[in-house]
């Protein structure tokens, strides 16, 4: 009776393997992802592609390798060049490839980042001399607020810190983008802070912006001016380059340690916050690390 027992054992083993996510071939398709390759903080677009044939076994690296000319180092875990644009390090500059999935810097390598479909992948080639870590960016709008980050959905809370009508504007734009907002704040959620900088800066995550891009990854600063604050834009080196007007607003994202990302919709004045709230759309935020608005003029940050 050895035959039937062996057959049952093999069947059980195969069932266990199948249950553990094992299988032959690349697995079934999980949906499309959006692949973007840019350089210099998103200022130069190199590749924009909707990739539809993403399967269960696909990682960020595999999708990139299938869609662009890539060379790697350190055993294939680190991208050395994309489309011939090589990472370089010298006394003056340190240029490398960084990637964001749903606008959040990954804590694992591209070869280990499994995709679930629907993600927005953004590779950017930039000088990291002033900010080695830019933990979150706004350029994947409405991600990560819509689909979550690190492979998991996360709730979104809009915290109105004296934002007035701008809070309603932000709510409406999020809902229009398909983001489901809970009726009451929940733990572990991504937060969108809306309000003048004098209030927003009291939040520990948002307050990192005042400590510079090295800490927050946001190339902007607020200078006290009487009772209010005035926004200034920093360049890639973290130096003050543009001093915006008193009603300039800012939309930026940051992250404190491993906490969920925090978006700020802020400005020196209430008018500035309202202007910033109107930036929440794909046309204004796409492929930007952060965006400032002064009157009608939108400026991608860092300033170039």
């Amino acid at each position: 009776m050895r035959g039937p027992r062996t057959a049952v054992a093999i069947a059980l083993l195969l069932s266990a393997l199948a249950a553990a996510g094992c299988g032959l071939g690349p697995g079934s398709e999980v949906g499309g992802v959006d692949l973007t390759v840019t350089r210099d903080y998103g200022s130069v677009s190199m590749l924009h592609r909707q990739v539809d044939d993403v399967t269960e076994s696909d990682t960020v690296m595999r999708v990139l390798e299938r869609n662009a000319d890539v060379s790697t180092r350190y055993g294939g875990g680190f991208v050395q060049s994309i489309e011939g644009l090589e990472a370089e390090e010298s006394v003056d500059r340190s240029l490398d490839w960084f990637f964001y999935v749903n606008g959040v810097e990954s804590t694992v390598g591209a070869a280990d980042y499994s995709l679930r479909g629907g993600e927005s992948i953004w590779w950017d080639y930039r000088d990291w001399g002033a900010a080695m870590r830019v933990p979150a960016v706004v350029g994947a709008w409405p991600q990560p607020l819509l689909g979550g980050y690190e492979g998991k959905p996360h709730p979104v809370d809009v915290e109105c810190l004296g934002g007035g009508v701008a809070c309603a504007e932000v709510d409406e734009r999020l809902r229009d983008a398909g983001v489901k907002l809970p009726s009451r704040p929940s733990g572990g959620s991504m937060r969108v802070l809306v309000g003048p900088w004098s209030r927003v800066r009291t939040d520990p995550a948002a307050g990192q912006i005042e400590r510079g891009p090295q800490t927050s990854g946001v190339f902007a600063d607020f200078r006290p001016e009487g009772a209010a604050y005035r926004l200034s834009g920093l360049d890639e080196g973290g130096e003050d380059t543009v001093e915006f007007g008193p009603d300039a607003g800012l939309v930026a994202a940051t992250r404190r340690f491993e906490d969920p990302p925090v978006w700020v919709v802020t400005g020196g004045t209430e008018a500035a916050v309202r202007a910033a709230a109107q930036l929440l759309d794909t046309a204004s935020l796409r492929d930007h690390y952060a965006v400032a608005v002064d009157g009608k003029r939108e400026t991608a940050l860092p300033v170039r």
Partner: protein, 327 residues
């Protein structure tokens, strides 16, 4: 039982060549195996070493090395497939493993492992041919002027290892001869006894060397004498020093050609091969040319048949001699 890799004296050109020539020839092929990753060139090196071994009469060594090498290659393929998840063509998803993480078996990782395995197998066959065809005594003798003490140590080791093997066989026989009622002897007690015997013998050898003055600072031997004593002593214990073989030139030349072609080919891009993200094997003219030349180099140990005219002349000469011979 005799190891298939043990040196066996044969009348072939590779065995008759001086050790330096054989080392240059086989070393050039090994160098190409390490220099190139292109599977076409690696296969050509494999063909060359198998051919060289076959022509040199070392087929049993080649077969044994191929068996071991291909087993090792298979192991490398399996390990590489499990450890490396790079590559875009996923063949199987094996889930999340405790140490390896997400394990995906990709065609590229299998191909990369196969190339590594092929290289290992080729090098093993080359060393098997060397081991089977090159007299270790001649190699040590050639090394003696360069590093006398090291050569002496190597000579002693090469002599004492078979002695230890014979000791082991004798001990096993002795254990068996105690009869069926005796308690079985485990491997550990046998190994202990063997080790004790080997150490005893090492002390004896050291004492003998001491008595013969080998610990003293060696003087430069006068002309006509070897490093360790007068030539007559050398002649008494070893075979006479061999002169350069007429086959040396062939092996030196073949080794040099293989190396020059390999280096030139490398510079011209003959080693075009990419494992990841997709396997790409270059098969351009330069690659094929290098592969053909390397594969043909395996014919170097071919023994030339005696020229027909020369043989006929020799036979005729022997026939024309008077029965008594001589003048």
């Amino acid at each position: 039982m005799r190891s298939p890799f043990a040196y066996t004296p044969r009348p072939g050109p590779l065995q008759r060549a001086s050790p330096g020539a054989a080392v240059v020839y086989l070393g050039a092929l090994v160098a190409v195996a390490f220099l190139y990753s292109n599977p076409i060139v690696l296969s050509a090196v494999g063909i060359a070493v198998v051919l060289a071994g076959r022509l040199a009469g070392a087929w049993s060594a080649v077969r044994a090395a191929l068996w071991m090498g291909l087993t090792l290659a298979l192991l490398i393929v399996v390990v590489n497939a499990l450890v490396v998840s790079r590559g875009t063509t996923v063949w199987a998803r094996l889930g999340d493993w405790p140490i390896f993480g997400q394990v995906d078996v990709t065609a590229e990782a299998v191909a990369a492992g196969a190339v590594l395995g092929l290289r290992a197998a080729v090098v093993m066959v080359a060393f098997a041919v060397y081991s089977s065809c090159v007299d270790p005594d001649r190699v040590l003798r050639a090394l003696r002027p360069l590093a006398g003490r090291s050569a002496l140590t190597a000579t002693l080791v090469s002599r004492l290892v078979p002695v230890a093997a014979a000791d082991a066989a004798r001990l096993r026989d002795a254990a068996r001869l105690r009869g069926p009622g005796a308690a079985p002897v485990g491997k550990a007690p046998l190994a202990r006894r063997l080790l004790a015997g080997s150490l005893d013998r090492a002390v004896d050898v050291a004492a003998t060397l001491e008595l013969r003055g080998y610990s003293l600072r060696p003087e430069r031997p006068p002309a006509g004498e070897t490093f360790f004593g007068p030539m007559r002593t050398e002649k008494r214990f070893t075979s006479p020093v061999q002169r350069r073989s007429r086959y040396d030139q062939r092996f030196y030349l073949t080794g040099a050609i293989v190396l020059v072609v390999a280096i030139a080919g490398k510079a011209l891009g003959a080693d075009s091969f990419s494992e990841y993200p997709t396997t790409e094997i270059g098969s351009g003219a330069a690659t094929l040319a290098v592969a053909v030349i390397v594969a043909l180099s395996g014919l170097a140990p071919l023994r030339r048949a005696p020229r027909r005219s020369a043989a006929r002349a020799s036979r005729a000469a022997s026939r024309s001699l008077p029965a008594g011979g001589g003048m």
